[in-house]
Amino acid sequence: MDTMLKRRQFLRVTALAGGGLLVACGGGSSSSPSPTPPDSSNPDSAPGNGGDPAETFAVGEFLRISSDNSIRVLVGASEIGQGALTAIPMIVAEELDADWSRVTSAHSPVAAQFDNPYFGALQFTVASAATRGYFAAQRRAGAAVRHMLIAAAAERWNVEPSTLRTEKSFVIDDANQRSASYGDLAEAAAAQNVPINPPLKDPANYTIIGSTRQRLDAVRKTNGSEIYGMDVDIPGMLTAVIARPPRFFGQPQSVNSNAALAIPGVLEVFTIPSGVAVIANDFWSAEQGRKALEVSWNEALAGRTDSAQTRSNYQASLNLPGVPVRSDGAVLLAQAAASDVLSADYFFPFMAHAAMEPLNVTVDYTGSAAEIWTGSQSQTIDRLFAASILGLLPEQINFHTMTSGGGFGRRGNPLSDYVRDACHVAKTLQQPVKVIWTREDDMKGGYYRPAASVRVSAALDNNGTITAWTHRAVTQDVTSSLYFEEQLDTLAEMELPPLGELNDLETGMPYAIDNVHMDAHLTLIPQMPSLWMRSVNKFSDVFAQETFIDEIAHRYSRDPYHYRREMLGNNPRLLAVLDGVAQAANWGNPPAGRSQGIALIAHWQSYIAQVVEVSVTGDRELKVHRVVSAIDCGTAVNPDLVVAQVESGVIFALSSVLFGEIELRDGVVQQSNFDDYPVLRMHQTPQIDTVLMPSGDNPGGVGEIGVPAVGPALANAIFAATGEQIRELPLKNLNFVIA
């Protein structure tokens, strides 16, 4: 990581013909200019309407100051709704002292210069790591360019740089009452030395970071002009849908395509490794063709995962020691000395990400080069797989990261399943083609949040103090499909994060307990494609931990808020948000007829505590009235985006907790669309209040932190209302009627 950061300090600054400057960041800047603008599919990003070729971005060039004083920032993270294309430019603009009203942004090409320092050599928008990963490097880049602009002005005016200041894209000489715009100075600035270690602003002087700014994509996302992968349209493009096996990794055995080919508009039917592709002039014809297709499947190697069987297997594994994740003190001794040892078992089902935009990929493969357009959270690896399938070098593929209609982890698959499918289709076809997944394809297509069982136990003394804590998780290795296919060779050349980090089993149990043992069973089920889903295992692990804490508190007649408080003496940031949410939610005094529950989590360098207010009627009508959150994410780069992410996390969590379940019977997924996989709707949405309590530390992740504590806080509120202990999800399976 250190090497990476050092390498990133190197900037290459060049003048633009006709004024302006371009900044390239990081190593590898010897790359030849890209033959086409990296984001030509995005109408908003075509620089100067394709005018002067010198105005075209080259690979690696991430910042452009144009002679008209406008500034354009290319972002290596993917816009999946979290606001990456707004927050990350704000960081550069802050240190640059840019006029924010003249800043625009777009996705970068896939290139090493745009890798997220958090992951090393990858563009990878997962693990709530976009803003916190790019923060330091973007600040340094902005500061360096500002330094060069000042140096250029000082040279022009023959004054000391230290007598000059900057504001809103101008260098200002107060003593001589003159100023020059960045656009005017840009060409001369490009000739200045690049400072290796430019001084950064004191955060107290921030004017952009920490202020709420409108999303840069707000207009495009309200007038229908934002171009998603699904909207890509290139000349001569065909449309494909793929008939997939009813059980994962089944193989097409025989195909009768006569009826399909008889549908007007259907052009071709052929087999690819994952199924049978139906190619047509348009989506509707392709879909009719697929319905008419007759395929028999070889299911000898197909997955036979069964939800009920999985649950019973996992329950059995809870009795066996797993691989240690954390071990403090001497749990067995403490348990032997305890006055009481309590334990509880939990189960969580498979779940689908169900992003609003179903998966899709457009590929234009000509035999010697390719362009790919898709919403991706993992473009570096996607391009690598595409290259291996198409027989190209990665550099021969112009990969356009499109704005994603949601991701939640599904578009960050290290196996690149949907990109590989599309490349197989394009390789056969050698004609531009968009592969569209229907909602049913997306829902049944696998790569789910894996099912999980958790057992927690607590040893207690006479006062109800927890003297020992154990936590055992049984879940599926989200990388297990890696072992199934011949993907390891392709991935061998990648610098992947360690698998432990991908699975991220550390739960961050924050309480001051002397004796702690946490272990896990990571089962390998290669024929059951699983993947991280927003908040990953924290969703299940924190649910168990935080509901069990309430059970213990109740048993010893302790208030759940105060009980937690007493165990957080060494964790001032968590304590602060816990106190913050208790105050904001008026803890202990819910409105008549309602009950409260509380829970917390620290992860992704952020801290949150949440209170959920519910009512439960005698006939089990459950109404979630209000969710209050207090969050410390260090520095909130754009406070309103942080609030939006917490709101988003709360609603995402409520969908999962109330309804979320993919059920497999003998390998067949039972759900297909939003009728049998319901998600939260407007009328079920509670009042949501969010309190920001930024400590001023480096930014923490906010994309997932709003999710894990909602479920346990909700379950704790039900426990407070009814005395019923919630040990499995979703709640719809426990005969609650969701109002």
Binding site: G81, D231, D282, M356, R439, E647, N673, R681, M682, H683
Partner: protein, 152 residues
């Protein structure tokens, strides 16, 4: 050949009668603002106005849309209320991924056109057919109230 009146313009398309209006708009007329989300009128991402009524274009055969006035997100700013809805959406930073927002805006515009002062219950009824996985519902509700209280 089927004639369609979309956003005030007449179009003639040569497509099967059964092709859903959504795909005719997206593929044949290149109006991609209306989104495909579920194909079964379950999510609302494809919502357009048919004679002013919010309609799920993914389940309307194109032949059934002929002879009706079709309005899509691309021209909703030509309606006074549609433009107000867009402005309120922008002011409150409503969109996140944005994929569902064309449908949300078309549904909200229809609601406010027929009911300038909707209650929370009215909003629930008008907007619960539109799914947002990013969870922008609280801001959508707030934006609708804002328009109703400030501008209608």
């Amino acid at each position: 050949m089927i004639s369609l009146q979309v956003n005030g313009d007449e179009h003639t398309v040569d497509v099967p009668d059964t092709k859903p209006l959504l795909w005719v708009l997206r593929e044949d007329l290149k109006l991609t603002g209306s989104k495909y989300g579920c194909g079964q009128a379950l999510c609302g991402a494809c919502t357009v106005h048919l004679d002013g009524q919010p309609t799920r274009a993914c389940v309307v055969p194109v032949s059934a849309a002929a002879g009706h006035r079709i309005d899509t997100i691309e021209a909703v700013d030509q309606q006074r209320i549609g433009a107000l809805v867009q402005q309120a959406w922008q002011a409150l930073n409503v969109p996140q991924c944005g994929y569902c927002q064309s449908g949300q805006i078309m549904a909200a515009t229809a609601l406010l056109t027929s009911n300038p002062s909707p209650s929370d219950r009215d909003i629930d009824e008008a907007m619960s057919g539109n799914i947002c996985r990013c969870g922008t519902y609280p801001r959508i509700r707030k934006a609708i109230h804002k328009i109703a209280s400030e501008q209608l």
